[in-house]
Amino acid sequence: MASGTPGTERNRLATAGARAATVTSLERQPRGDIWMGNIFFAILLFALTIALVGLAAIILQAAINGAPAFGWNLITNGPSTLNPEEAGFRPAIIGTIYLILGVIVLVVPLGIGAAVYLEEYADGTRWWNRTVELNVQNLAGVPSIIYGILGLAFIVRGPLDLGFILVAGSLTLALLVLPTVILASREAIRAVPPSIREGSLALGATEWQTIRRQVLPASIPGIVTGVILAISRAIGETAPLLLVGAATFVTFNPTFTGDNGYSALPVLIFNYATRPQDEFRVLASAGVILMLIVLLLMNSFAVWLRNRYEQQW
């Protein structure tokens, strides 16, 4: 570099100046920004406290209110309008399990397939691929009632014309959580370093062999975590199910394709909560706790799975 000498001289002066400036000010100085820092810290703490207290209050209230109803009846008995002391959630629990099984069967292959295409095959410079990417992200934020209307128009009636059956509910919920699964799977696939792909391809493996035997196995923890979080959301959804035919009051066990109605946990909780008698309010609270337990179990499983199989690159 031609201007080497003056540049070096300037650097030397700058360094010396900076050092002189820092050496003199080791003592604490009266500064406004320290106050600002403390205030900011207090605001953050306040926000956290509000969130935690609110959550704890809901859980505590539901637990206290629902306590009298806890017992095996809650799981083994069906709903009843005549003797609420004996009533339970059995058909709704089975309905929810069936619904979620259907969602898993639909969402895992579709979600992973879409994610593999978008990450490994799609040419990101093409406008149609960019449009798909943008829309998948937007779809994850669409209100669930919209999916309910979509399910009613296209799955229950319209082109598919399935009627008000449990599978229609599964399909609708699957559509609802599909964007979440796609996004989580894409993140997991993207987290596999390119060096692994290169190493595999350099051995003469094809692109498909590389994806199938290196990329997907390495991204399973992330994908499973995404699937479980998506299912946790699907379990709690009520609005779309009401639209696609989940009945609020079903006393028999549902089947996948039977057209005489099915129910789900949140739907039955909603039904109990709107009844005037106090006994049903107790049942609704107990149902909330039941759902929270299921959700906590599933989320803990997701966390355990991620920690167990997480790969440090």
Partner: protein, 307 residues
């Protein structure tokens, strides 16, 4: 030593080589290469053509229409270690990645010119890059073992290529990479538990397991300590009996130690200093490049005056 003396020695050596073809010692190897030239000059026919692995002809590689390396012409020979040295950005890694079509993975990359592999156009319309990479393996700068067991790391290649006797191949490859004694009792352990040097030798073993003809190495020791580096350099000396090796390195001493031939590339700037690309300056026997280079720029670089 003058050229004429070299020439005379060559004639003598060649006769010896003809009578004693089964004993090509290291010293003879050097004169042997000079013989190629002398012979080529005399008759106009290159009788050693069968020993060439690659013929690189006027190759220009560009990313998004900006040339990374321009107009490279060089031949790479069988059962030799060929080193590529030069400053950062001179395109030596780019050039290396063209030899097994790894550049295909970069969508904006374009290769002009021709690369022949045993006379076959590597970029011909009917050539399948997967088949190319089967024959021409690659070891990368940073050790990149798969997140699997040591055994599965080696077995992956043979398995996807549909080979049999996986156990034997794993053992042979690990022995070939001088790793067997260190890992034979923990083949089922995760490869990430190995040291960096072991991981890199595992990657070399993994490449050997699919029995390629050429192994390309892209700065294989730059992330390793001197002891691990020494082990890999020893390994290279053994491997060239079986494979042809092309190595890109920043370490000139390494090139001098391990290679038979050395290519020196530099970064060239255009008049506006906005465009830069790599250019091959000199390609010759390693000893000549380091002791008596033909180009002043090579001499400045290898003696440490620049760079």
């Amino acid at each position: 030593m003058t050229l004429e003396v070299n020439g005379q020695m060559t004639e003598k050596e060649r006769k010896e080589n003809l009578t004693l073809p089964s004993e090509p010692s290291q010293e003879k190897g050097l004169s042997h290469q000079i013989a190629v030239k002398a012979d080529g000059d005399e008759s106009g026919v290159d009788v050693w053509a069968k020993d060439k692995v690659f013929e690189v002809k006027d190759v220009t590689v560009s990313y998004a229409n900006k040339a990374a390396v321009k107009d490279v012409t060089m031949d790479i020979y069988k059962n030799e270690v060929t080193a590529m040295i030069g400053p950062s950005g001179c395109g030596k890694s780019t050039l290396l990645r063209c030899l097994n079509r790894m550049n295909d993975l970069v969508p904006s990359a374009r290769v002009d010119g021709e690369i022949f592999y045993h006379g076959q156009d590597l970029y011909g319309p009917t050539v399948d890059p997967v088949q190319v990479r089967k024959m021409i393996g690659m070891v990368f700068q940073k050790p990149n073992p798969f997140p699997k067991s040591i055994y599965d790391n080696i077995a992956f290649g043979p398995r996807v290529l549909g080979m049999d006797n996986i156990d034997e191949r794993v053992e042979k490859a690990l022995k070939g990479a001088a790793l067997w004694d260190e890992v034979k009792d923990r083949l089922k352990d995760n490869a990430y538990g190995m040291s960096g040097g072991q991981q890199q030798r595992l990657c070399i073993a993994r490449t050997m397991a699919v029995e390629p003809e050429v192994i390309l190495m892209d700065e294989p020791c730059s992330a390793l300590d001197p002891i691990s580096t020494g082990k890999i350099e020893d390994l290279m000396a053994e491997l060239k009996e079986q494979f042809s090796i092309v190595i890109v390195t920043h370490n000139m001493q390494q090139a001098a130690r391990v290679s038979d031939k050395t290519a020196f590339l530099i970064v060239e700037l255009d008049a506006t200093e906005n465009n830069r690309w790599g250019q091959l300056v000199e390609y010759d026997e390693t000893e000549k490049v380091f002791t008596n280079p033909a180009d002043q720029r090579t001499e400045d670089y290898v003696t440490g005056k620049v760079g």
